[in-house]
Symmetry: none
Subunit: 491 residues, 2 copies
């Protein structure tokens, strides 16, 4: 879409977030805020927004628009196609601001208000062109969260709503048009209900702020980030779906589970209404599909948080550390070194296969990499060794793909030591479909011992070299595989 | 920790989820559930849990425990160290089940109830050993969500709580010990408050189930997945912190923003209490730090959802598609074949990194494989071509890992054609950190044209060969990269 001049009235956290989102989408932005600190504050928000947006999108971003701070509302809105008002939540102030905006603003332009509290009919009171004003309520941080609630109210102009949706979609947002105006629109009603309940819990000494945050972010917060409320409960209802859930859990509505007790009558009509809406929303997926989608999303979200590690991801990271230690414990049984080592096997998982049902190319290296890890663990590269600042990295790999393999098939890896010195290990893996089965692929790797703190090659510790020597003695009787030392030939 | 026999009483979605989590952590599990379908249902949950757990943890999982379905409660709990009760939410039924369990169960073992509705004092009524029973309330899917609310009640035994925390932590969960028993514990009070508000909104025609879900998952659901309620608001309060937020938004509590209206008095004592708790929880981070942490988490979560694409991630994916089209617009000039081709770029995703924060070995091949696909698409191997029964497979690969790369970093691939004949293509890729940045890795591939129906080599169609010839003419002026044709050297 073509560039539109954007006017931002009020440059706090929300106004600054809007300015950053519009500018990073290529629109020029004029800001009016009498606060002498506004320019610094907006610049800080913009710096955060730019870093985050660059990481979020792989696609190149358009050249950013220019952000200008101007001295008056008239100057800001002159020639603007969209005005975003984010001044304090005082109705008299907002009315005065709109009057001043509408003295200068083009008739086709639209004023979106960031208000979380006022209905559009309240904002529009006394305006010379009420249809030009609507609610466009964002969520902090505006430059990352896609939601904007659009509420036009009874005096709303459908063309203004259409323009709001088109513009906000073009800057990567999700405009949610609210059917009827209501105090606090939609999302903030939930926030308000939870906030009140949370205040009671703290006041009554049931839980601290941290315990309450943990009760959210280790549990249902992870569900809501991807499916929200009704789709989550649809899955919980199982194959019988939403109606079953309502019938099973409806009665709980009569229990005193909250301080806030006004409950709608649980009539058959309400059950029908919700069931029908849920079918329209999610009926294209079976419950089994929805479960897989949910799990897939949760794995992704938890992996993202694990990498930080933060919140539920901190819990996963700690558990992973324990798993790693467990996997190193009790592996001191003597091995038969006259044969290739059998240290790793795996199963082709559902998300390892491509649309043809065959294991994807890179998963071969996934399995070979795990086999290399198992080999390194076997020679003594455990967590204590790595905590001491040394590790072994793969620096070179040669793979041959011989045959395809389908989901659920067992993979067995045989590993042969081809050579080593104090810093390097050269190994070959053969991947078979089942123990002793057909060869699916082969790998040859050069591994390098490193000092991880200084990121440079460094000798392995003596116990590892001793173990390698023992394996080498046994494997010296084995012929080198025919693929070892081979290069890709020129055509 | 050593293995403990686990007894599961009630094998529905929740009981099955517990069974899967315990078994995948290495504990043997005995299940009693009179439902003839229980064995099938648990097996289905276990299959989902196994796939999800394997993807979530890079570390090897311990050998799974055995899941056995048994014919009586006595058989299930005999010798068990932990009993998880997940029968229907009927107090009389639960009392009968506990009495039967306690006839056989060891005195040191603990019974955890999955109840979301009953307080421990209710569960313990009439028990011969009330301290052995506590609430261990999980969240669906039990095998992925870490939260378990532990409530012991006034008759609780601290040793039982300690054992619950130790055991649940060892299987990767986050036990949250609730200070005082209360109806619905903590999290379900929030779920209940939101559920009631949502029923009102649907009933009054303000929003559909889908609109409500979108109002959550495009907005505050993303915040709650990582910070919960109070820490989110602490950030919103800015440098002035929690007290400022309370003072700014406290008055909103007097507005009629919800159907549920019993509100605690907003006394200075309550403000102090919350401010102090929030300082203890998050005071070690400045607001600027918290903003960066929040943005970092949101980028990770949104990237994970974008890869699916789902929910807010679908919005990001669509926007990215538009950004990509924008960046391609006006770029339909014929390709410059005098330089290596730049056909693929990517970002290091949260679940691509290992516990050191670096991209895992096999993801290098993931990115190179995508670059090969982009190259094949470029020469004309589109879906119509493949539908015609021909495709091109990778048969041989040579990789060199030069440098590590962290999450969120941009990857750019340059591709050079090294040679081709009617059935084979030899290419080289160079992976850089950003356009023109440092070299991270190199790849050389031999690709083979195949007849997919007959699984044998077959010539490519003429248009592909023509395109390859055009590229070859241009690339003939380029020097072959030094790594081309190289093999791993013997030691």
């Amino acid at each position: 879409m073509t560039q539109t001049k954007i006017a931002i009235i009020g440059g706090g956290v929300i106004g600054g977030g809007w300015a950053a989102r519009f500018a990073l989408a290529g629109h020029d932005v004029a800001i009016f805020d009498p606060d002498p600190e506004a320019e610094r504050k907006v610049a800080e928000v913009y710096a955060n927004a730019k870093a985050a947006t660059r990481r979020l999108y792989v696609a190149p971003l358009p050249p950013p628009g220019k952000i200008t701070h101007v001295g008056s509302i008239a100057e800001a809105v002159d020639g603007a196609g969209w005005v975003q008002e984010s001044v304090s939540e005082r109705l008299d102030l907002k009315h005065r601001v709109y009057a001043e905006i509408q003295e200068t603003l083009d008739a086709e332009a639209v004023i979106g208000s960031s208000t979380s509290g006022f209905k559009p009919s309240e904002l529009q009171q006394g305006s010379k062109d009420p249809g030009q004003i609507l609610v466009a309520h964002p969520f902090n941080p505006v430059y990352l969260l896609p939601l904007a609630e659009i509420v036009a109210g009874p005096s709303g102009d459908p063309r203004a709503v259409e323009w709001a949706c088109k513009l906000l979609r073009s800057i990567g947002m999700h405009p949610l048009v609210v059917r009827q105006e209501i105090d606090a629109h939609i999302a903030d009603r939930f926030l308000e209900a939870v906030w009140r309940e949370a205040l009671w819990l703290v006041k009554d000494g049931i839980a601290t702020t941290e315990e309450i945050d943990d009760a959210i972010r280790y549990g249902f917060g992870l569900r809501w980030a991807q499916m929200g409320l009704f789709e989550t409960y649809r899955v919980a209802g199982g194959e019988a779906g939403m109606r079953h859930f309502m019938e099973q859990f409806g009665p709980a509505l009569k229990w005193p589970w909250t301080k806030l007790m006004d409950v709608p009558d649980f009539t058959p009509e309400l059950v029908d209404l919700i069931t029908e809406q849920s079918d329209a929303q999610s009926g294209m997926h079976s419950i089994r599909e929805l479960e897989r989608i949910r799990d897939d999303n949760l794995v992704g979200i938890l992996s993202a948080l694990k990498a930080r590690p933060w919140g539920a991801g901190d819990c996963i990271a700690n558990h992973e550390k324990r798993l790693r230690e467990l996997s190193f414990a009790g592996k001191d049984t003597p091995q038969d070194y006259t044969k290739p080592l059998a240290l790793h096997s795996a199963t082709v998982l559902p998300d390892w296969v491509d649309y043809n049902g065959h294991m994807t190319e890179f998963r071969y290296l996934h399995v070979f990499g795990d086999a290399t890890d198992a080999f390194l663990t076997h020679i003594g590269m455990d967590s204590a060794y790595m905590a001491g600042g040394r590790s072994v990295y793969t620096v070179e790999t040669h793979l041959r793909h011989i045959a395809e393999v389908r989901e659920g098939r067992p993979l067995h890896i045989e590993t042969q030591l081809l050579g080593h010195d104090e810093k390097r290990i050269r190994i070959a893996h053969i991947m078979r479909e089942g123990d002793g089965g057909d060869v699916l692929a082969t790998a040859e790797h050069m591994l390098l011992s490193v000092n991880t703190a200084e990121s440079r090659a460094a000798p392995m510790a003596a116990p590892l070299i001793d173990c390698l020597a023992a394996i080498a003695t046994g494997h010296s009787a084995l012929a080198a595989p025919d693929f070892a030392g081979r290069a890709i030939r020129a055509l």
